[in-house]
């Protein structure tokens, strides 16, 4: 029936306008990229500059007149407590992740499934607790930490950090649990499991993507946190990355710029990669509940 007449349809719009539009688009995106990454690009340049190069007034801060040097990285790893900061941050991070999972997994499930209307209110309360900034609580918490004798101990951070990560994680996991059909648990109950076994064997494995997001979020959160770490910890041995770098690598008015900026860059790159990988899931945590209804 259909006859095939070939009348190629010409492209729409004049070529010039399409090219201009493409160029404008690329320029704008590049501009924003540059703006966002400028301090990191500068960090990358400064890390390998010699003192002479760096402190030459009026000269371009982006040029290398001397050969790039690894001296400052060497200095950072061997002559400063940088590696100890890394270790402290990692230890704290792992411990906080464990505490957060233990507290928020069951709570999220209870809020998603078991408690009905009352659970809805509790969910909103969780969200509000998440919004309470550390600046509001650091003074009384400081007093409590001193009283408990946890000052200058990583335990103080491990104790307090979940107060930020648990509400957000619970909020995020609630969304995952709600998307698991109740029939799956009911099938497990029919198959002879009790409710706790059903949760452990059926629900948890299905919520694995949520658990991974919580691990990523909680770990980076402990890496980011500044105020509690600044207030609770004042001995250099127990400092973490976020406070150790700006306090210990700056001595009075003397800035060791190259190691300072290198240390920031060394943290930024891996965390940036991880965020990029988990971006969609992290955004879910921020927008859940906003798009329902």
């Amino acid at each position: 029936m259909a006859t095939l007449t070939t009348t190629p349809t010409p492209a729409q719009g004049p070529r010039l306008i399409r090219v201009l539009r493409g160029t404008l688009y690329t320029t704008l995106v590049l501009f924003f990229c540059l703006l966002a990454s400028s301090p990191f690009l500068v960090m990358g340049v400064v890390t390998f500059q010699t003192d002479q190069d760096l402190y030459k007034r009026g000269a371009s801060p982006f040029d290398y007149e001397d050969m790039p040097t690894l001296e400052h990285l060497d200095n950072l790893f061997n002559d400063t407590r940088y590696l100890s900061f890394v270790r402290n941050s990692t230890l704290t991070g792992i411990a906080v992740v464990v505490v957060t999972l233990v507290l928020s997994l069951p709570a999220a499930w209870a809020l998603a499934r078991l408690t009905g209307r009352w659970g809805e209110h509790a969910g909103i309360l969780m969200f509000i607790v998440y919004l309470v900034p550390p600046t509001l609580l650091f003074i009384p918490l400081f007093r409590i930490i001193v009283q408990l004798g946890l000052r200058d101990s990583l335990l103080s951070l491990i104790l307090v950090y979940p107060s930020i990560s648990v509400p957000f994680s619970t909020w995020l996991l609630m969304g995952f649990f709600k998307s698991i059909p109740p029939e799956l648990e009911e099938a497990a109950l029919v198959d002879g499991f009790n409710r706790y076994e059903a949760f452990w064997r059926v629900v948890l494995p299905l919520a694995r993507p949520g658990v991974i997001s919580v691990v990523v979020f909680t770990f980076t959160l402990t890496l980011h946190e500044f105020i509690y770490s600044l207030v609770f910890i004042s001995s250099s041995e127990a400092r973490t990355l976020s406070t150790g770098v700006p306090t210990e690598l700056i001595r009075g008015d003397v800035f060791f710029w190259q190691p300072l900026l290198a240390s920031a860059l060394l943290v930024a790159i891996p965390v940036g990669l991880v965020y990029n990988l988990f971006l969609d899931r992290l955004v879910q945590g921020f927008t859940l509940g906003a798009v329902k209804g």
Binding site: Y25, V29, C33, A36, S37, P39, F40, V42, M43, G58, S60, P61, V102, A107, A110, L114, T115, V129, L131, P133, T135, L136, L137, F138, I139, P140, L141, R143, I144, Q147, L159, S163, V166, L189, N194, R195, Y196, T220, L223, H224, F226, I227, L230, T243, V245, P246, L260, A264, V267, A268, Y275, N276, L279, D280, V283, F286, T287, A290, V291, G293
Partner: protein
């Protein structure tokens, strides 16, 4: 015995309580209790060295309120937050439009977009205290790379618009210091606001956008009358996060200026830290930080209510 046990194991109400209890208890102890302690501190004479409780009523608040530094901190905290949020939401909208635009179906375009996304997300991903150290260098009084670029563009230096000095001294002049702090907040919050907006934009059904096109709507009308109203609830959520993060932030001011020059960039969290921790006056520090609370509560309630009232499918 076994029967009772198994009834317990199958009681969903009991399980809800068992599952919710640890987290609730923890939050009561580490958020509720400190909050009450803060209230108690603020009506006492507590210091780091003295744990005894002397009730002094609202004297701390009255004292703090009469301090010029506190007034500065209050005004700055508000103005920094509001200005930063306005700029952030505008930039985030532009960026979200750019990043959700259809790409040419080429491999290079996809790779380019991945790199762009990585770079754009860095400000949010990096621990703030570390990236602000980067900005400290960018704003350095002698070696600032920004100053260098301005000099190269003949905007700075002898016989130029912003001359004759060779440096702007970003963090040393009141207005520039304020602008720098606002800028860093915008820089830091824009990525999060953008990705939240992008999530909102991508949840708009394509049928609606096709319908707008068939109805004869052009780009700007579709943007302002269809897309933006539909992402409004999500935009408010992102504003809420931005407002609260900025309002309660200590890091940026602490590392860049410590509130200086004099008190021109002092904020409530910074002042609270200076008084309560550096100065050891827990009572007054707590009183300062408590001023944050009603503001945050108000903002949260208003934004959440507007968001839930706004129409979305």
């Amino acid at each position: 015995m076994n029967a009772i046990m198994s009834r317990w194991l199958d009681d969903s109400r009991l399980m809800g309580i068992v599952f919710l209890a640890p987290a609730t208890l923890y939050i009561v102890l580490l958020v509720g209790l400190p909050f009450i302690t803060a209230l108690l501190f603020s009506v006492s004479t507590a210091t780091v060295g003295d744990a005894s409780f002397n009730y002094v009523g609202l004297r701390n608040f009255a004292h703090v309120w009469q301090t010029p530094a506190f007034r500065d901190a209050l005004v700055n905290t508000f103005s920094f937050t509001v200005v930063a949020q306005i700029i952030t939401i505008v930039l985030a909208n532009i960026l979200a439009q750019l990043l959700t635009a259809p790409l040419p179906p080429r491999r290079s375009a996809r790779i380019g977009m991945w790199i762009a996304r990585m770079l754009l997300i860095l400000p949010w991903a990096t621990p703030l205290s570390l990236s602000v150290v980067g900005w400290l260098w960018m704003f350095d009084s002698k070696y600032s790379p920004i100053d260098y670029i301005l000099r190269e563009m003949a905007l700075l230096g002898p016989d130029t618009v912003w001359g004759p000095a060779n440096n702007l001294i970003w963090l040393g002049k009141p207005l520039l210091a304020k602008a720098s702090i606002i800028f860093v907040h915008v820089w830091r919050m824009t990525p999060l606001a953008t990705v939240i907006l992008m999530a909102g934009l991508s949840s708009i059904p394509t049928d609606l956008l096709d319908q707008a096109e068939v109805d004869g709507s052009r780009y700007l009308r579709t943007l302002f009358q269809v897309k933006l109203p539909l992402v409004m609830p999500i935009m408010l959520i992102s504003l809420l996060f931005g407002f609260i993060f900025t309002f309660g932030d200590l890091t940026v001011v602490y590392i860049l200026t410590r509130g200086g020059p004099i008190t021109h960039t002092l904020t409530l969290p910074m002042y609270s830290f200076l008084v309560g921790i550096d100065g050891g006056n827990l009572a007054q520090g707590a009183a300062v930080s408590l001023f944050i609370f009603p503001v945050l509560l108000l903002v949260a309630v208003v934004l959440l209510r507007t968001a839930s009232r706004a129409e979305i499918r």
